[in-house]
Symmetry: C2
């Protein structure tokens, strides 16, 4: 068993990340107990500090993604700023960065330099399109990764346009993969004593997330059509309208299909040649969807969910936001916690989805104000108070506390 | 540096997973060098063996998700079948399962039992809604997790219905998180010598993937409206139609907005009060989108991408499937490999998105036929050929080779 629910408690992370995919990795590492040293630009800090929504002038987008971390405000253009990084690397286990491709090398802080200082370092670079290849220098945002990796092409209504998700799901997905990279690197250090360099591209992780469609494209007959709220292989498998919202209904076997028809008082569908088996239902899926909605529209969503679950047909209401995060389920499974946040006061954070030994990963602190931990971190790596005062004076170190 | 690009080469995984979220975890582990012992139901095997698309009667959905693994075909209802599992657990590092909540305990193969046999085991359970809470017993499929976790509610057109993704993105996301759990568990064993139990729920990982909207719901003014191809906070940030497809355009600063207007010969937008700053553009985002599309529809997507990239506006064509996976970028960055697959011959697999020390994770083998490795695995854990022959005779072990 874990000594605590913080498996990474002894790990130190030097975190240069400035865009969500990377910030997400250090968020996860911090949740798991790692000490994250968030290196922020002197006087400015993380770009998301300026992004809505705000409470008391504090970005809750920033706070949510940066809880449990520590902030050091640093001028990397000064030699003494770089020197601090070199000294931090000596004590760190992991370096994370998602600057524009190649920028960290130009700063003199690339893997080749840092591994000389600490050969055990696990160095993870996140980028849009990898370090090589024809797109390496192009800008990448979540929606661009979605567009280049096939998510946008496959998401959306059959007759509509390709669609991005409402959230930066390509960023968070890339972050989750990058976390795997960090953990494999750390495992490898324990095993072999050696560090490593890991390169991860958003476009590649998006491709893996749409693997099913790629498989079907390369080995089946998928030509890239969007299927909206139907499935390509199973019918019914989709989202259907009810009187007060929507439900997901999945009848992925003939038994479930029959139970579904009976429960809706539509026994005639069972013998209708157009719906006689899954193949026929797929061929007539658009018509079938319209027919199903003529029935489902007469029910309330919770009522229909109950009726269909009782006869063994996997069904779920589509929860509106307000219900998803305030439901009995969300409460009972500890999806969120209230934590004290500087400048904000008590605010709601969501908990990490991993539960170790049946305990949630406790949130120790909110997100740091800019430069809040500069002195603390430098003392940990051996700087004296006098030396630190000097660095503040020379504006190598900052404590803007915004 | 890694000795090879297979950081998990010494790890053995006892893999009971039967649904994609779990199968995805062992796929990733196998890619990274772990030896995955896929325990399959006697005479039947992995359910996806029966799922389209097929080549030579072999499901390429199955092969793609099960490459690099080994298959043991086993009757778990027989005592001798369970005994085999107990002996496998002695040699294994990881156990993965995603049976219906509680089923593995009833089979006598739950964590409490297996940790007695091997206290170092890292045991990961994946489920729809966790082991506890009011939804624990409900069936969960990808679209149901999307419906309960807020992805469906936020995805889709403003005036349309909530929308699931075209792919099982909630399954793969949960798998990626579960892989993190496995790796933290393995790291912890190296550190403390002790195993652990980790529970992971699809609905929870989906919630984290829509974190931005949750933050905005709890701390901002988001009421759960869908925003389709626009962004809630930045305009323009979206997908726009062109003469031959779509482009993503992102003008997230005033400088980029001005450069965008000039490049499209729409300088009058810069001074139009409705678009004068980001706040105004967000207020008029639907009209702005229509106005932009009146212009973009006159360009070809690659042409528009080039024009806007040249003036520093992040832009990308939305790649149709056929182009995404056959592009120069996909080729140069080794997104896929051709590998020999039993029954199929040479087929295309996609590579793991993680590159260690600049090397792709080589795909060693295709996916196993049902029971292909039963004898091999049993010999590894100490069974003699005579004993194994006896188990085949008693139909505890199978080699259906389908």
């Amino acid at each position: 068993m874990f000594k605590s629910n913080k498996p990474l408690e002894n790990i130190k992370v030097l975190d240069f990340t400035i865009a969500l995919a990377g910030v997400y990795v250090s968020w996860q590492l911090a949740d798991m107990g790692a000490e994250v040293w968030k290196v922020e630009k002197y006087g400015v800090g993380d770009q998301s500090r300026a992004w809505a929504p705000f409470i008391n002038g504090m970005s809750t987008l920033y706070t949510s993604y940066n809880k449990n971390k520590k902030s050091i405000e640093l001028d990397l253009r000064q030699e003494k700023g770089k020197e601090i990084i070199y000294n931090m690397v000596k004590k760190a286990d992991v370096v994370l960065e998602n600057f524009k491709s190649g920028s960290i090398d130009k700063l003199g802080l690339g893997y080749d330099k840092l591994k000389e200082i600490n050969p055990k370092i696990v160095f993870v670079s996140l980028s849009g399109f990898g370090k090589n290849g024809p797109l390496a220098k192009l800008p990448c945002y979540d929606a661009i990764a979605a567009a280049r990796g096939g998510f946008a092409a496959s998401n959306g209504d059959k007759k509509g346009s390709p669609m991005k998700a409402a959230n930066a799901n390509c960023d968070t997905l890339t972050g989750t993969h990058a976390l795997n990279a960090v953990l494999m690197g750390l495992y490898n250090v324990r095993k072999t004593g050696k560090g490593s360099y890991i390169d991860i591209a958003m476009s590649d992780t998006v491709m893996v997330s749409v693997a099913e469609t790629i498989i079907d494209y390369f080995t089946g007959n998928y030509q890239g059509t969007r299927f909206g709220n139907n499935d390509r292989f199973i019918a019914p498998y989709g989202i259907y309208e009810t009187r007060d919202g929507w439900v997901v209904i999945i009848a992925d076997t003939e038994d479930k299909w029959k139970a579904f028809c009976k429960a809706l008082n539509k026994k005639e569908w069972i013998t209708n040649p157009k719906y006689i088996n899954n193949k026929s239902r797929i061929e007539n899926v658009e018509e079938l969807m319209r027919e199903i909605e003529k029935v489902t529209i007469n029910y309330k969503r919770k009522e229909l969910e109950k009726i269909l679950l009782e006869v063994g047909v996997p069904t779920s209401e589509v929860l509106p936001f307000i219900e998803a995060y305030t439901s009995e389920h969300a409460n009972k499974t500890n999806c969120t916690s209230m934590v004290n946040q500087d400048k904000v006061g008590l605010m709601r954070f969501y908990n990490n989805p991993l539960q170790f030994d049946n305990k949630i990963c406790e949130i120790k602190t909110g997100a740091p104000l800019l430069g809040a931990n500069s002195r603390e971190i430098l003392k940990k790596i051996g700087y004296t108070d006098e030396k630190i005062d000097e660095l503040y004076e020379k504006k190598v170190l900052g404590s803007s506390l915004i």
